[in-house]
């Protein structure tokens, strides 16, 4: 953290960058919200710790349109999203200074609350302990037990695109879960069970568009669902079909491009496991077209804009 | 008939060879240094296993005469790997006999500085299951 502040200060002072996109402390001590700092505002409030969950890459679309150069703190898993934005020309790489920062998996405040704690006043991280102060007293939780779901299946701890990076050998010391286990569990169900599962999940959707807005890939100038000329525009789910439609189309549009950053599920106020849709596509493409991780680089063709003459026929699906 | 087929499938599974890839050019047999000592030659292994005609191969001396030098594999333009097939037939025989003729712990005392490395590896291939 101190190293980061020093580096950022140095780059801001020597004029390499004009602004800094990072996180700042919010209303509560454990709230972290993306924020832009500049020379004028100073770095007051800039923070990087285990509560800085947000993927900052998407903010760069707007930030890189502005004059001057913006420094961004880039966690490993978010850097894949940045690579996709570079690949798709959604950001101006020239105007971005990427400072890679280490990540030892993020802590989920929701999970802390889910342990039953209420009246939380403060949460402090000390090594592997998460110390929670509540109006009822103090509790210490093991960090491993309250990590974000997406961190439990972390892809990698390597920042894939950066100008400079700060290393750390700290790890969360957890055993990673099988990323596809949840998808496989669903696949093992009967079609009717799956249908009921997804109906029960998707019917919760309130079309707040949080999943769309947080997604670094879902960055269309104008979304098809907001565009009256597409014939499928809709602002709210009128019936079950539209609930399905929105999420199928969204998953399809990011298929092959989704980096599996898990932000969609994290921000969903209705706790719909949206990442399971994206992951299904990832699993299927990996199995049928060879392993591919979107965002590893800014050049490779994604599976849906590529083909081989020997590709599987669509009938593989119904021959299963 | 079905057991013959099973044997064919088993040998193909063990060897990882797809005999249908063979274009019958004969380069394997043209290359083979043990050709004259083998009554069935590398290209015959490919076609006979493909046809399920495996018993004569199992009875043959050829499986023991093969040097497992892998020249046929190296040269095969279609990547068929005849040597792997021969080895798989040999292993089938060894497994049926249920015997290891060579234990690794007995090897050091048999070593002779003159012995080519390949012969040792080859001996392992032939005499242990």
């Amino acid at each position: 953290m101190q190293g980061i502040i020093e580096k950022v200060t140095e780059l801001l002072d020597n004029g390499t960058v004009d602004r800094v996109l990072a996180w700042k402390a919010g209303e509560f001590s454990y709230d972290r919200t993306p924020a832009v700092f500049d020379k004028e505002s100073g770095l007051y409030g800039l923070v990087y710790d285990s509560f800085c969950v947000n993927n900052l890459s998407k903010y760069l679309i707007e930030e890189s349109k502005k004059d001057g150069k913006v420094l961004v703190l880039m966690k490993p898993c978010d850097s894949y999203g940045l690579n996709m934005l570079i690949k798709e020309h959604r950001v101006d790489r020239e105007k971005i200074y990427v400072l890679g920062v280490p990540c030892k998996c993020k802590v989920s405040v929701d999970k802390i609350k889910a342990t039953g704690l209420t009246g939380i006043l403060d949460i402090v991280e000390e090594g592997n302990d998460i110390k929670v102060t509540t109006v009822y007293g103090d509790t210490t939780l093991d960090r491993k037990d309250v990590l974000c779901d997406k961190c439990m299946v972390c892809k990698d701890k390597v920042v894939v695109v950066y100008d400079e990076k700060i290393e750390s050998d700290e790890t969360a010391g957890i055993e990673k879960l099988d990323r596809m286990a949840e998808v496989e569990a669903l696949e093992a169900m009967t079609p009717d069970e799956r249908f009921n599962f997804w109906r029960s999940q998707l019917s919760k959707c309130i079309r707040c568009n949080a999943c769309r807005n947080v997604c670094p890939i879902c960055s269309c100038t104008k979304c098809v669902f907001d565009n009256d000329n597409t014939g499928i525009s809709s602002k709210a789910n009128v019936d079950s079909f539209e609930e399905n439609m929105f999420h199928i189309v969204r998953a399809y549009h990011v298929a092959g491009r989704c980096t599996d950053c898990g932000e969609c599920s994290r921000v969903c106020p209705q706790n719909i496991p949206l990442h399971l849709l994206n992951r299904k596509f990832i699993k299927e493409m990996n199995e049928l077209y060879g392993t591919y991780q979107a965002g590893t680089d800014a050049e490779a063709k994604d599976p849906l804009t590529a083909f081989t003459k020997e590709d599987a026929e669509p009938s593989v699906i119904y021959n299963r | 008939m079905s057991s013959v087929n099973n044997e064919r499938e088993e040998i193909l599974r063990m060897s990882g060879v797809d005999p249908t890839k063979c274009m019958k050019c004969g380069k394997c047999s043209g290359t083979c240094p043990a050709f004259d000592a083998m009554e069935y030659h590398p290209h015959q292994f490919v076609s006979m296993v493909n046809k399920g005609n495996i018993e004569p191969l199992k009875q043959s001396n050829a499986i023991w005469q093969c040097l497992s030098c892998f020249a046929c594999m190296e040269r095969c333009p279609r990547d068929v790997k005849p040597a792997k097939l021969i080895e798989a037939v040999r292993l089938t025989v060894i497994r049926e006999q249920g015997m290891n003729h060579l234990e690794s712990e007995n090897v050091p005392c048999m070593l002779d500085p003159e012995l080519p490395q390949q012969a040792i590896v080859s001996a392992f291939r032939k005499y242990s299951k």
Binding site: I248, A251, Y289, P303, L304 | -
Partner: protein
């Protein structure tokens, strides 16, 4: 069972997307040869199988289609050289997703039918219809407002 009895009577609504160069011509050939298949199939002409957006298929189901089939040139024969290769991947992914959501996967299909394969076109349609008939009416992915 009531469902089984009525399945014979059940007239499914089938949308068939056919590429202009091969499959639409194949359908024409089926017609020229008087090879019949049920009238439940309605063909929409598209320039290439790669023109078919998954949206169209979802839309068809929304509006009450019971089955959707996409026909294109055989891989390697695409008029535009590569279109059906893209279509093949796209449809594989869409079908996989529909299956994952619990929609009967048999309601969707991709078949490669050349301009010379009139008989295959008719046979394919007959086969597809009987599959969809045995599944009955599509209820899972449908906007109930669209059909009275």
């Amino acid at each position: 069972m009531q469902v089984n009895e009525s399945s014979k009577e059940f007239k499914p609504c089938i949308v068939a997307f056919c590429c202009n160069w091969c499959s639409y011509a194949g359908a024409d050939l089926a017609g020229s040869n008087r090879l019949s298949y049920p009238a439940d199939v309605k063909i929409i002409r598209v320039p290439c199988s790669c023109r078919v957006n998954p949206l169209f298929i979802l839309r068809a189901f929304q509006r009450g289609a019971d089955g959707v089939i996409l026909c294109g040139c055989h891989p390697g024969d695409c008029h535009y050289t590569t279109g059906n290769y893209y279509a093949r991947r796209r449809m594989t992914m869409l079908f996989s997703m529909l299956d994952y959501l619990g929609i009967e996967k048999e309601r969707t299909r991709v078949e490669w039918v050349s301009a010379a394969e009139g008989a295959k076109f008719a046979a394919t349609m007959n086969d597809f219809i009987s599959t969809v008939q045995s599944l009955g009416e599509n209820r899972k992915l449908r906007d109930l407002r669209c059909k009275e």
